[in-house]
Symmetry: C2
């Protein structure tokens, strides 16, 4: 399936009929608060699987950030196969556990300072992006702000400050280059 920029893939509270895998492009999941603010739960890039945040209904909406291709699999079909293929059942459970871990890492991000949040976000993107290249951000500053629980102005200012400190460089607003030691720091944490 193809989805245009900003088009909805599924909506919160809809029956969760499919699991999804991004084959190209990028996807965001989000929830809207009573006061109208938007909280982005996660970004999914090429290769990532999403739609696991579900019991019977989705608990977040999903949208394509840019023109994206997405693979769809019927949950019901998977469930039937999972009865006999114990390995598949295990994989489904593991994938949900992985999402849980991601969400808990997200919580850890949200309790630190603006600079720490942006750095954490960039480290995560760097880890998931094609190795050692500059990061190409598919999402807007507003998306990043809504993911990190900051305002767009604070995100923008923090990017500028990180560049002034020489921690990143910003050839364009959507392209970020990190100094190597930052990546290294992240790797040691994951191995630790």
């Amino acid at each position: 399936m193809r989805f245009a920029r900003n088009s909805e893939i599924y909506g919160e509270e809809e029956a969760a009929e499919h699991l999804y895998q991004v084959t190209s492009g990028a996807v965001r999941t989000y929830r809207i608060l009573e006061d109208g603010r938007r909280q982005i739960g996660a970004f999914y890039l090429s290769g990532d699987i999403f739609g696991f945040e579900a019991g019977d209904t989705y608990i977040a909406s999903a949208e394509a950030i840019c023109e994206s291709q997405v693979l769809m699999v019927r949950r019901s079909a998977l469930m039937i196969r999972a009865i006999h293929e114990k390995d598949l059942a295990r994989q489904l459970w593991n994938a949900t556990a992985l999402e849980l871990r991601r969400s808990q890492d997200h919580v850890m991000l949200l309790i630190s300072s603006a600079e720490q949040r942006v750095m954490g976000f960039l480290r995560d993107m760097a880890r998931r992006a094609p190795k050692n290249a500059a990061i190409e951000l598919p999402m807007s500053r507003q998306d990043i702000a809504d993911y990190l629980g900051l305002t767009i102005e604070t995100v923008s200012r923090t990017f500028t400050q990180l560049e002034q400190k020489g921690i990143i460089s910003l050839p364009t607003s959507r392209r970020v280059e990190l100094r190597d030691h930052i990546l290294f720091h992240d790797f040691t944490r994951n191995l630790g």
Copy 2:
């Protein structure tokens, strides 16, 4: 198994050998950040099941908040049973999905104001506590602060402000009574 106040039930990064159910008392799970701050991931009360936040190793530590009794079940035994009892497998997956949902609700809490966070916390405790009675909080202000990403001072001040506004009353620091309409508001949200 009995655990004394503040004693460790399991540690982060340990092999995840058991699932747990609280039979009496209360449990907190937490992670420590590099800078030494503690983030509490969840509180578990009587009847709650925990230890699901795990692949092969726990991703948080668990401690008894007060003298507590906890039921332990070997994960390996459950996994073996789950191969044949498809319903059990389903339940395990569902329980993890429920934890995921809890974590995402936690994220939503963390992006709002101090008052909203404390209110959200109290609503959650009220919903889980024995119906319509005053809430008896097993955890300290420090625990609440570390759960909500605030300081102990801000939590204390917010409790005082809520009482001054007539939204709660505080017979003692660990006992909270909410006005009915607050509970009602919560119920309507859950019913959708």
